[in-house]
Point group: C3
Chain length 367, copies 3
Amino acid sequence: MRAVPFPDGYTIESHAQEPRDLRRVPIHPDHWYPLAWSRELKAGKTLGTHFAGEPIVLFRTASGAVYALEDRCAHRQVPLHAGVVDGESLRCGYHGWTYDCSGQCVDVPYLGRERLPNGVRAYPCREAHGMIFVFPGNAMLAEECPLPVLDSVADKAYKTRRFGREVKCHYSFMHENLMDMNHQFLHRRQMGQMRARSLGRRRGEKSIEVDYTFARMAGKQPAGEALVFGASKNRADPSDQSVMTVRTEYPYQTLKIHSSDDSLLMDLWIVYVPLDAQQRTNRTFGLLSVKRPAVPFLLDAAWPLLVWFTERIFKEDRTIVELEQAAHDNQGADWNHEVFPVINELRDLLRECGARAVIPIREVSEV
Amino acid sequence: MRAVPFPDGYTIESHAQEPRDLRRVPIHPDHWYPLAWSRELKAGKTLGTHFAGEPIVLFRTASGAVYALEDRCAHRQVPLHAGVVDGESLRCGYHGWTYDCSGQCVDVPYLGRERLPNGVRAYPCREAHGMIFVFPGNAMLAEECPLPVLDSVADKAYKTRRFGREVKCHYSFMHENLMDMNHQFLHRRQMGQMRARSLGRRRGEKSIEVDYTFARMAGKQPAGEALVFGASKNRADPSDQSVMTVRTEYPYQTLKIHSSDDSLLMDLWIVYVPLDAQQRTNRTFGLLSVKRPAVPFLLDAAWPLLVWFTERIFKEDRTIVELEQAAHDNQGADWNHEVFPVINELRDLLRECGARAVIPIREVSEV
Amino acid sequence: MRAVPFPDGYTIESHAQEPRDLRRVPIHPDHWYPLAWSRELKAGKTLGTHFAGEPIVLFRTASGAVYALEDRCAHRQVPLHAGVVDGESLRCGYHGWTYDCSGQCVDVPYLGRERLPNGVRAYPCREAHGMIFVFPGNAMLAEECPLPVLDSVADKAYKTRRFGREVKCHYSFMHENLMDMNHQFLHRRQMGQMRARSLGRRRGEKSIEVDYTFARMAGKQPAGEALVFGASKNRADPSDQSVMTVRTEYPYQTLKIHSSDDSLLMDLWIVYVPLDAQQRTNRTFGLLSVKRPAVPFLLDAAWPLLVWFTERIFKEDRTIVELEQAAHDNQGADWNHEVFPVINELRDLLRECGARAVIPIREVSEV
């Protein structure tokens, strides 16, 4: 990992020089992606989900195990999530064709066993951290590809909030939004007048990260922010500065806040899973872990405020990235005109790590 | 008509071998299609309908006669159904251009009679069995093409229920749904565990039909089913078996249940009329005739139960065929993998009897 | 301006002979178009509008001045109308990029002033008659292009009603609707049986106008109509005839009613501003000025009736032109079959004065 000193020369890169439209780069399928929260799928039930337009049914058997199959019966392509979990198998709700957890067709009620047709595709599937992960790409690579490690979620010194929802934009807008902390102006109502200062960035083969400190330009620190970001930053005393590190480690993203004594105060892990084939909609899965303070139950008491605060911030972000996507749709191309080097490197990273294909443009209604 | 003995070898036909996508075969227009129930069109009123994307206005004059014209004024193409019935003519609601029942323009209020423009297309139109039938194809063929015969509807020994609504799928899904009685699993909540047994099929030039008996695998016969399908089938006594015959006689379909003494217990006639140019939506017109039992008024008393039961069944069928259409739209092709010979022959019949054109694919929004 | 005597020979022009589809002719951008009513934009606020698919933000500074910029931040293309008016500048709501009234970028909070990126497009913008006008075409031509003159609006002898809303059709349908007074049949419920008589038409380089008188065929004059069109026309006394003149002076339209003593009783100015790139939706801005009668406050007392009457008429017109647009969309072409020479000349004028490009056809959902 090479360190790039900061501040360096901001450069203005025109969209005309860019190699291919980042908003049309498909996410790379050879990673583990959460498709649902564990609590969404009860034993004996099915759940229909999508990854980049591929319909995938999750089902949990009576034993509690979770499996992922192509959500499309081999017979007439109706979704298997409308079917019935039967022991360790899944039975289509139309003519009763039955598939085991490997996707093999094991029963057609009106057909001899010796004549059974081929089955459906099965996806590697694992459950961890309260999420159901699926490996939508080349299944041969699943074993060697590690699940993300979320230390703070398992650590009792932290309290974790799970959040997220559908956002109508390409995943790349989400990465850029979180990494570019110069967008504090968007959250001026929640955070007052904050100014981010970028300390430096580090680029790895499949990762980029950047450090920030913050200074308050005017106003008082809101209570919600104090909870999440820690007590008020005192610019007069540089030794009291917390440092925020935002990192994209493809395809995931993290945001960590360390206090001046290097204690991890806040730890966010987040991923943006494309739903439709156009990858213009993603489902966000976020886990926000906050270190418990010395006073017991203080964090629990303040939790509703933290929930309210983070929901407000997330809603503002969601609104603006959806406006970015809408602008892209109307223009038919990415006109991004970036001046912040970190973001230009992030954009390069997302292009390099993405799938090779180009998402075809679909005509979009205007105004 | 040749008889094909059953059971014969089930074969697995891959969609790759199929000649053209059945879901893109337009219905043949040279038949009589109902476009409305008679009760929907009062004297002096208009009704805007569609056949496969063609706008057709039905209007009933004061004398009670019904006519069908192109629903598009020759002047500025606004729908004539927004106009006014005037004697035996139809007057456009915009500038008052007036058409007689043959579609000829007979008045433009601000233009001399000697300069009248051409009119609009007229369609052969007949009223029968409480339906308004239109012949949307070559009008020269209408006279020699018979209206469907519905004996049980006119027979006082039967009570008839008229039903139907818009279903968002190609008509071929409807034919396959009704003819493949192996889909009893879909209706497991209404019918319990029934197993159909196919007795044999007969193929004609423009028709195919198949006979079934049914056996109950578990549970009791629901009351609604007993009404429609007759009293419980006793497998221990083969002589007591009712036989169900499902027949497609292009473009109509029938389902008849005969008792073991060859009495016609139930008689369903049904047709699926494409509404949009893509033929991805049809309006279903069904007439279900049930033989009155010996006890007078018993059927009338039980009628609400029969209505409820058939509505439930029809709703489950509607949901599943709409899921089939949605799957086809997402895939962009028919991936059907049929193993039941009757259905493969039905599919061939629908292709052979359909119009020659191919419905162009329109891009469809995903997820 | 040449005078064409009337009545002359009505001719029937087939759509097949027409040079290009009028509904696909873009409006010419080198004119002043209102994009909002003045009252819609308060000091310190922004308003997002569109002209033919181009997003345009209007903003009013504390001084009351109004400016028009491209509604798309140069940075990430989010709409500037989601931003904040800051003195005489507009600040984007995402990262705070700031533009002055000429569209120049004057601040990026986290970037040195010497490295500021290019800004966004500015549009000539003027406020008059309670409307905010923008010149969306070649800005070099704005100075020499006059704003429309609306004498009656400024004249205290008249009372003016401002009205309008979005109408889902190409602007050409609106021009044809107002100019062809043979469509009184559409308003038969509001106006009774009226018959328009065309007296003659005059064609200019960029204008066409036609005169009408009206005769009542049956029924009494409704009170609302009497207010707008003046007291009942007495056909028995030709000297008592009012004359209505409808004029298209590209791209605007007027309708004036003069009494037999040549006094201007009613004066309507109206324009149809395309909103979407397909120009299938317009926002109508209308100013209807009615001469105050001798009795003071009579017109004010009757005003609610006039509002109700004009709203009813406008709603009927809106419904029918939207049906025309829907028919055009389904047909994919203009099948207009016009028999009234005035309208054929108007159609030629709209083609000649429109922009050279052809609006590409977008597939439209059917039925």
